[in-house]
């Protein structure tokens, strides 16, 4: 008799503990009405652990003394890359036009292993000649070149990152 009582008591305690552990307070729901459409989106945490390999190429471009005050990092645009060589250039307040697209791109220099590109825009396409082309940033693996034209024929300085 006593043994049965103990077993029942243990079962009761286990049951009570189980119910306690399984208990969840009723979760209220967000209320919204009179909207045309609503969507509830689950947010799933994620960690992206990929590490940058090789030379990371942020903005590298030039400023000239005329544009130095106006050319902000946010205004510097990378306009294209090739498969192996990143080519970067800039736009500023004056040159921020749709003209920086593929058709105006001009190959302007070669080295033994690299092909360099720069841009011309519609304003300067007639004025771009080789003596005006300046090398502005040299890194271990990449040489960036850009142009000056008659309008911007002020000595280029290296853009300080």
């Amino acid at each position: 008799m006593n043994e049965s009582l103990v077993v029942l008591l243990i079962l009761g305690v286990v049951l009570a503990m189980g119910m306690f552990l399984l208990y969840r307070p009723t979760s209220e729901l967000v209320e919204f009405k009179e909207w045309d459409t609503s969507v509830l989106v689950k947010l799933d945490p994620v960690k992206i652990l990929t590490r940058a390999k090789g030379l990371s190429v942020p903005f590298k471009s030039h400023v000239d003394s005329w544009a130095a005050m106006n050319l902000l990092k946010a205004e510097i645009n990378t306009v294209n890359i090739s498969l192996k060589e990143v080519f970067v250039s800039h736009t500023d307040g004056i040159l921020k036009t749709p003209s920086l697209t593929l058709p105006p791109l001009t190959t302007i220099a070669f080295s033994r292993s690299h092909l360099f590109y720069a841009h011309v825009d519609s304003l300067s396409v007639a004025n771009l000649t080789l003596p005006s082309i300046n090398t502005i940033v040299v890194q271990t693996r990449d040489l960036f070149v850009s142009h000056v034209d008659a309008f911007l024929v002020i000595p280029l300085t290296i853009y300080a990152k």
């Binding site: 209320e31 909207w35 045309d36 390999k53 903005f59």
Partner: protein, 269 residues
Amino acid sequence: MKALFVLVFSICFASLVFAQAPLVAPEGALAFPTAAAGISAYVKTDQKIVITDALANAFYKIEDVSDNHILGIVEVETIVSKVYPHVYVDTEGWMVAFFLAAEPPALIMQWSGDLNTPNAAIKTTLEVALEQIAKAARIPLPSVSFYDFNHPSANTMLILLRILPSPGKKNMYIKLPANYALYSVSYFHYGCNFYVWPDEDETFSTTLKIGGALVSKIDGYNEVKYNVNIIPSRDFAVNKLYEIEIDYSHGGAENGSAGVVFVLIYRTP
């Protein structure tokens, strides 16, 4: 006194310049800019992604490139405006479209249809950005997941949409339970109207109010205009019923529309 002013100004300016988390990863660092990202849509493909010219050209602007990742801005066009989410792609198969932490999550709304009869359907600009990049990379886009890197504890995003295809006033309601943790509330409110000959009075006006308080007012003539903003946390709390009112009027011909989307990011118990 002048020196003190210069010192304070310099500190403020330097704080402004360096306040934004960097997007460019030095070699060996984590390539994805977790600290700068906000609401995000992401996929992990089973196949490696090759960074090609075609993929690079799908970007409106490239901000960082290394041997195994590319990060830039993608242009997404909606009927109301163009938006410019960032997109990150790496050779491991990760593709993430995101708005910066400082940008209103309501930019996520992909307004569709046409401005006289907008669709009352919700799709996100982040999904569209991923579709554009996946197409350029020539890979099928897997099912998209979402996450808010700016609010890592948040587990739900609620998007609410109301359209006014013709003049009128509508009242909508939102209430979050007391045991929810609310992290972000933002809205995207637009209005438009278009000149149709021979009508002359083609001006429009639309207002957005929360609890009777005006939060957005847009007036215009023959154009589309919009406001996108984050509502300060002090102005939106849990356990309180909010009435949202949108009003739209215009003269002249029956064209144009107005609409509002609310995006709430929160944690449920």
